[in-house]
Every structure is written in structure tokens, then in C-alpha cells.
């Protein structure tokens, strides 16, 4: 499957003309990222497979209406995010996450940290298994409500810019900021609790 990478300008007219080689090139170029994004957003392999299929079908069906105001890649990832989040929101709601203040260290009345904070990021691997920490963060991600999970996945897992994430989710920057920060604090807390118990 050594399809050559085509740029949007070459690919779009060919797709609109239903050129099969162009369809193949498009899939070869985007399938891994679409699947990975769908998997992390939905948190479920079965859902991610369905999203993968639905996304490419939607792209082929809607390509005639694609006017090129956005980049082809942004358009495809946006369709992917919407489809994956729809799956996620269909599932039973997870619990609410604590407020920002409750996810940080306890503070004195003077606003200084009131308890020791362990820096488990510096622990060597034989004291805290990084692989297990990786599994732990995956579990923690599954505990996040969809609104928080989506921003964490787009920004921190997938590495989209703040602007791209805002566009994909139709969010204001302020909303992105507060959800992302609280989502990160929640994950950090989960890892910290784990590290406290498990470090040798």
C-alpha cells in the first residue's frame, strides 16, 4: 500500500471525480490518525472501528460540497471528533469531576501549600513503573466526562493546537482552558494517588 502522498489541491478534484486511486490515497494518508483519534476519544475499540468507517464514507459522500475554506485534514478530523464524541455521549454518564480547588494541594489561609507534595515525576523506573503509570492514565482518562476528555485528547494526546481544538469542538478559548486545566488536574491527581500507594 505505497500510495504516494498527494496534497489537498491534487486530491480534492480527484475525489470529487470519484477516482478510486485518490480514495485509496486518502485512506492511506488518514486512516491511522482517524482511527487513533477515534479510539482515544471514544475509549472503545468497537466504537472506533465504526467511526473509522463512517468518517471515510461521510468524506466520500460529502466531498462534492467541500469548498476548501478549511484544510482537508481539519475537515476530516472534525468529522472524526464529532462522530467519536457522539458515541461517547451515548454511553451512561460518568460521575462529575471535582472542582479545580479540590484537585490541587491543600492551602493555608495565607495561600501557601499546607502539605508535602511528592514529585513522582522524578522517581526512577525501579521505584515507580512507568508502564503501569501509562496504564493508569488510560484508566483515568476513561473516568473523565466527555467535555473534559475531548479537550485533553485533542490537545495533550493528539497534539492539536489550542485553536484547532477550539475549532473542532466549537468551543471558546476560555471554555477550552478551564476544561483542559481541570482535566489535567484530575488526571494528575489520579496518578499522584497511584504513585503514593505504589512507589517502592
Amino acid at each position: 500500500m505505497a500510495a504516494t502522498q498527494l496534497d489537498d489541491q491534487q486530491l480534492i478534484p480527484k475525489l470529487q471525480a470519484r477516482d478510486e486511486a485518490a480514495l485509496e490515497a486518502l485512506m492511506a494518508q488518514y486512516q491511522a490518525r482517524v482511527f487513533g483519534l477515534a479510539l482515544r476519544l471514544s475509549g472503545n475499540r468497537q466504537d472506533a472501528e465504526e467511526v473509522l468507517q463512517d468518517v471515510f464514507l461521510a468524506v466520500f459522500q460529502k466531498i462534492d460540497g467541500f469548498r476548501g475554506e478549511a484544510k482537508l485534514s481539519s475537515w476530516i478530523y472534525r468529522i472524526t471528533a464529532n462522530a467519536a464524541l457522539m458515541k461517547l455521549r451515548k454511553r451512561p454518564k460518568v460521575q462529575q469531576i471535582p472542582l479545580e480547588e479540590e484537585l490541587g494541594p491543600a492551602m493555608t489561609d495565607e495561600g501557601m501549600i499546607a502539605e508535602p507534595v511528592v514529585d513522582w515525576s522524578r522517581l526512577p523506573n525501579d521505584e515507580l513503573d512507568r508502564k503501569e503509570l501509562g496504564q493508569r492514565i488510560e484508566q483515568a482518562l476513561n473516568l473523565l466526562p466527555a467535555d473534559y476528555r475531548s479537550v485533553v485528547v485533542l490537545r495533550d494526546v493528539e497534539g492539536f493546537s489550542a485553536q484547532e481544538a477550539c475549532d473542532m469542538l466549537s468551543l471558546s478559548e476560555a471554555a477550552l482552558k478551564s476544561r483542559l486545566h481541570r482535566g489535567r488536574l484530575f488526571l494528575r491527581k489520579q496518578l499522584a494517588d497511584y504513585a503514593m500507594v505504589h512507589h517502592a
Binding site: G104, I113, I137, L141, V152, V157
Partner: protein, 94 residues
């Protein structure tokens, strides 16, 4: 002098590199003197790093195959007629 609570409130902007240089400097000064805030910020960054490790970059070959047969079936079962294509072309022009 920044308090730990201020550091907590500036943390996101600091990580995203959105702070004024002078504020950023004050924050770093606080970190140099405050092991608690330093540990908190290090573990916050480590959390982001672990998140980025979750990115999955591969798609199993059998899934690629499945995708292609799915698309093939869908596209051949609903190949638009000449008139449908003409109509969608014309509405596209409007």
C-alpha cells in the same frame, strides 16, 4: 511575592507559555524557593507527557482491510445515477 495559590492560578498560562515575561520570572523565582509548587508543576507536566504517550499511531492491517471492503460495498451499492450527479453538480454551482 507570589503565593502558592497564585502559582496555582497562573499554572495553566505558564505551561502554555502565555505569561508576561516578568510574571513568568516571578513564578520561576517562587519555584526555586518552593519545593511543593515545583513538585506540583513537575507532576502536572509529567501528566501531559504521559497523555501524549497514549497517542496511537498504528492501525491494524485487518482493520485497513475491513475499511476498504466496507467502503467498496457502500460505494457500489449506491453509485449515483447520471441525473443525481448532474443535480448535485448543479446545486453545487448555486
Amino acid at each position: 511575592m507570589l503565593r502558592c495559590r497564585d502559582v496555582g492560578m497562573l499554572l495553566y498560562e505558564y505551561i502554555e507559555q502565555r505569561l508576561e515575561p516578568s510574571v513568568s520570572q516571578q513564578l520561576e523565582q517562587h519555584l526555586a524557593d518552593c519545593p511543593g509548587c515545583l513538585a506540583f508543576i513537575n507532576t502536572y507536566k509529567q501528566t501531559m507527557r504521559l497523555s501524549s504517550d497514549l497517542r496511537c499511531r498504528d492501525i491494524p492491517p485487518e482493520l485497513q482491510q475491513k475499511l476498504r471492503s466496507f467502503i467498496k460495498t457502500k460505494l457500489s451499492s449506491r453509485r449515483p445515477s447520471f441525473w443525481e450527479r448532474l443535480r448535485s453538480h448543479l446545486t453545487g454551482l448555486l
